[in-house]
Symmetry: C2
Subunit: 496 residues, 2 copies
């Protein structure tokens, strides 16, 4: 291997390793770290981020990329690696090292404060930390340049996507979703969701969740399932960890949460081993990532055929709570469409409106037409306007998500993109696997994992998200598959 | 603050943060990491070590130290910081970056292989990894220069100590210890140690251990207690974690293991907050560190007065196992002196001979008069010669310790130094606190923690270990306090 190839891949590999370390530090902070460790962790994160930035923006790194770009003997994968390295480098060199370090430290502190502030419904304590994060995020967007702060940040999470494009997609979603939700609300036969609020001991929940994710193909020799305040997936390939939280008086949180995170985890475990440290070896985008989690959580986990197989075992696990509940009633209960306060507990139809609230607030924060201090009020106003509900307190309002404290601004819309990608992928899977429902109804989930691995996981970020979508489904991304799916499912479910 | 001061402390702080991250990666690897994650972890460790080395040896780092050395307005603490930074820098610049990275990767792999090899009694699988570690450790010693490989490595762990000095100390130890052990073995009234092999459920062990370390002053808001194959302490200040393993048919492992690790942890929690990221803010040396753990484990935890208070609660925790055992019989059982196979389970008298075995093997490995492949046999020969026992297999022989797999060669003697320092500190504490035994007998352990904090912990590495010893005890280190202590205790205990 000629030396400039070797150098390019060695530098990229180092950056990848350090990013894995960052992930582990985050996991530890949320799952294991002693309460008082926050200050030290913030220093660690800042030092690591500063060093990574230094490494990523070094003249040697720029040189190594340039030398690869000037070669005419690159394979397709190598070209993808160079393309991704170039994108990351061009972004990184625009950011001053002090800003990167300051932001890393601010988000580490803000996350720790959020962990305490949420249960205590204490926005005032959290506010100065959020203000600092917003300030540094605006500065980051400005340093990245471009006409639109939102686009500059979004590019990091969803290459090729723009605020304007998102506005168009959300418009299509609103047009079809709002009437559907209206119709569902007026339907005479409403599911009885109260059965999900009976008593479900934690041990039984965990045992059931573990058996489902094992069936999905999540390899526990390369993973872990732990508890954290905000569920997440972290890591890649042979060390991919998921977390959840168990509410003994609300079954869906852990049940669908774990299936969701395992969807993310399968993606990471399904990447190509031989390319895992390369710039195009990782996952494609957050939207594609979310498509995997929501595919499993909703399109598989909340499907009729899934419960045909799994309701028996679930009932066996919770005979007291579910003894008098039949399969159909349970299926309808976990698919109740009802505007609610908490995003992560929202049904798959109203979910997109939660995202819309956050998308518009983020946009306003970045434009400067809204300040962090005014978020609680703005949040409540938008929740009322789109979902018809008003949070009684900040705990169930603006404090519910960790994302902004983690500096993830310009990120929420990728959740809705995940819904859209997932539905479009499902259309294609149904063509490739006409007996899909029968298989799921027998608890055969591995063929799905294998199809996703073949068509999506193994590629990593070989293709841009929009191109991957066309390659897999033959069509560019739109909201129509997702809206078709929702209309079909919920018109049947509610007898409309 | 003038700029060169600020720069010096900022660079030192970054290096400290990265070292904390290394510690966390090790903790995670041994406590949490999924089995298949070893390869990725090895890459992470190698990349981080390479980067730290680059940072530590950069011309800017050398320059920053030099500028501080040229100032004439430094405080005593600043001078200590510069002295420690200089020592670390001069060592680091002698080591090629490739060697540092290769060694980091090799030890990460070797540790993972050891984790599997030990329970399977599989030295052959472990052998090539150990050979690689030994080879790279020899290269490291050679790169450091100096006349003696052992001294070059030891300097990292115990500044100012030499192989020759150790040989002298061990000679004194052997002269007094071998006759004592002989006398004890021939004593008519032997303790009944079999009571410690009754059934002690894990839950009860953990509860008791947690209550003892709480009494010692170990702050769980800045710490954790978990399970790992080889117990250890990691972290500093507000995030100091300890591990143990629970054997339900052998009480002392967890009981004294946890007190031991909590002794280490108290040291780290007792460092000065305002200096924790500075070069002289960390712990003084491994010998001093071990003095803290062994002080608590043996001189407090295995003392007559300790069990005067704690035997009641322990008996309450294990009424079935200890119902027919009185306090005196228990005290004598946990102080049984008997040559045995496993270092971490050895009594405090024969313990030093376990260290002597390792010290001599390490010396031979470094001199090149012994190869890793020949270690099992050499191990067994020396065990027979010094302790009169021969391991039946490698699991209880050469595979029992993680250290060599972790690249910790030239490290074991610091355990015996810990015994010597501890006894010398105890002599002084007894003068300062004449009612020590009464206090311990009432379960008042915090005054001990406070004395150690005041005299040792808070200083960090402000003084070299030898100087700290003189400062605290008024005398240079020798084996006599430790030998006096052992003779007094065991002559009484065995009625000699």
């Amino acid at each position: 291997m000629p030396d400039d190839r070797k150098l390019f891949y060695s530098m990229a590999g180092t950056l990848h390793d350090l990013a894995e370390i960052q992930g582990l530090l985050e996991w530890d902070q949320q799952v294991m770290m002693p309460r008082r460790g926050a200050e030290q962790r913030a220093n660690q994160m800042a030092s690591l981020a500063g060093l990574m930035h230094q490494k990523a923006t070094s003249p040697e790194a720029g040189d190594a990329i340039l030398k690869m770009e000037n070669r005419d003997d690159l394979t397709a994968d190598e070209r993808a690696d160079v393309r991704e390295a170039r994108r990351a480098y061009d972004r990184a060199v625009k950011l001053p090292g002090e800003l990167v370090q300051a932001r890393a430290k601010a988000v580490a502190m803000a996350q720790s404060v959020w962990e305490e502030a949420r249960p205590h419904n204490d926005f005032p304590t959290f506010k100065p930390h959020l203000e600092e994060v917003v300030k540094l995020t605006r500065e980051t967007a400005d340093a990245l340049g471009g006409e639109n702060r939102y686009d500059s940040l979004l590019e990091e999470f969803e290459p090729g996507m723009t605020e304007e494009h998102l506005q168009g997609l959300f418009k299509e979603i609103k047009t079809r979703l709002v009437p559907l939700i209206e119709a569902v609300r007026g339907a005479p036969g409403q599911p009885d969701a109260s059965i999900l609020r009976r008593s479900f001991p934690k041990g039984g929940q965990e045992a059931f969740c573990r058996s489902v994710v094992a069936d999905m193909g999540y390899n526990m020799e390369a993973g872990r399932l732990d508890v954290s305040a905000h569920p997440f997936t972290i890591g890649t390939l042979a060390d991919v960890r998921i977390t959840t939280r168990y509410l003994e008086d609300f079954l869906p949180t852990a049940l669908f949460g774990v299936i969701h995170e395992a969807g993310h985890a399968l993606y990471e475990q399904g990447l190509a081993h031989e390319r895992y440290r390369n710039p195009s070896g990782g996952s494609c985008s957050l939207g594609i990532h979310e498509s995997q989690s929501r595919f499993w959580e909703n399109m598989v986990g909340r499907s009729r055929s899934f419960w045909r197989h799994y309701y028996g075992p679930l009932k066996k696990q919770f005979p007291d709570a579910l003894g008098d509940v039949n399969e159909d009633a349970f299926y309808r209960a976990v698919n109740t469409v009802k505007p609610s306060l908490i995003r992560v507990e929202a049904d798959e139809a109203t979910y997109n409106l939660h995202i819309l609230v956050r998308f518009e607030l983020e946009s306003a924060l970045l434009r400067g037409s809204l300040e962090a201090a005014d978020l609680p009020e703005a949040w409540n106003t938008k929740m009322q306007s789109y979902l018809g509900v008003t949070p009684p307190d900040d705990r169930d309002g603006v404090l519910q998500d960790i994302h902004w404290s983690a500096g993830l601004i310009g990120y929420f819309p990728t959740y809705t993109l995940g819904n859209l990608f997932a539905a479009q992928f499902m259309e294609t899977l149904r063509k490739d696997m006409p007996d899909l429902d029968d298989r799921v109804g027998r608890g055969e989930l591995l063929p799905i994992r294998d199809w996703l691995r073949e068509n999506i996981h193994q590629h990593g970020r070989r293709y841009l998200p929009g191109d991957l979508c066309i390659k897999v489904t033959g069509k560019p991304l739109s909201a129509s598959a997702s809206m078709d799916y929702l209309e079909l499912k919920y018109r049947a479910l509610y007898g409309l």
